[in-house]
Symmetry: C2
Subunit: 141 residues, 2 copies
């Protein structure tokens, strides 16, 4: 395995650019967020504001957990609650100039990492799938 080659790949070349990343806005309600997640088929997506600044992450587990009552899941609450009230603000983020090595360590505990420009603008995401694809290519050599 030529780890040298793998470690020289650019994050910019591996990331899914922002225009192809499903996301929601901080001010959306959970009903809208759940529809976006369901239609996109993803289980977790970034939360942005109108200036494309990254604020957090929303996922189906987070949404379901927030409406889990004592007896049942209280689906009527979805319209009332906002994304910003329940989102995970602790979303892993790295600069577009970061090393691929640091991203590999983060991907151990997170299915994707958000890429940010120096002024905090959302640039894209780096997924486990992409990194596993390239690691597998290098292991085969």
């Amino acid at each position: 395995l030529h780890s040298g080659e793998f470690l020289e790949i650019n994050i910019r070349d591996l990331m899914i650019p922002s225009e192809r990343v499903a996301h929601v806005q901080v001010k959306n309600n959970l009903e809208h967020a759940l529809l976006v997640l369901t239609k996109s088929g993803y289980t977790a997506i970034p939360v942005l504001d109108p200036h494309y600044k990254l604020h957090g992450l929303i996922s189906t587990p987070i949404i379901m957990e927030s409406i889990l009552g004592l007896e049942r899941i209280e689906f009527e609450k979805l319209e009332e609650k906002k994304v910003e009230e329940v989102m995970n603000e602790d979303v892993p983020r790295i600069s577009i100039d970061a090393s691929i090595q640091s991203s590999l360590e983060t991907l151990i505990d997170h299915p994707f990492i958000c890429i940010e420009s120096s002024d905090g603008i959302f640039e894209g995401i780096l997924t486990r799938r992409t990194v596993l694809f390239h690691l597998n290519k290098h292991i085969k050599k």
Copy 2:
């Protein structure tokens, strides 16, 4: 990167054994499945029968998609529908004696793989997290 070392690890040593894997039964309804997923915090889990035979995979996207009506998500349908009606039967499965290399290729497209014994009994799962953890260890050397 000493790919040789990585490729010699046993799947049995890396997998999460069945007793620690959240799962549902083929005959459960979707309301129960959604509760199990919500309480466990996982987005997709195996579907088994009472003999611990593996039948498929259920996830929150699958559940939500199955009750997505023209106007809204029809949550009342969760009680009526069964796991076996909507589950993904195309769940990636490998034998406990398979090579770690073949599992790496499968993990490119699947967050986890189900491990089966020769008589089709569910033994455990191998996750992307586990494989990324070990690959990262080897890359650091």
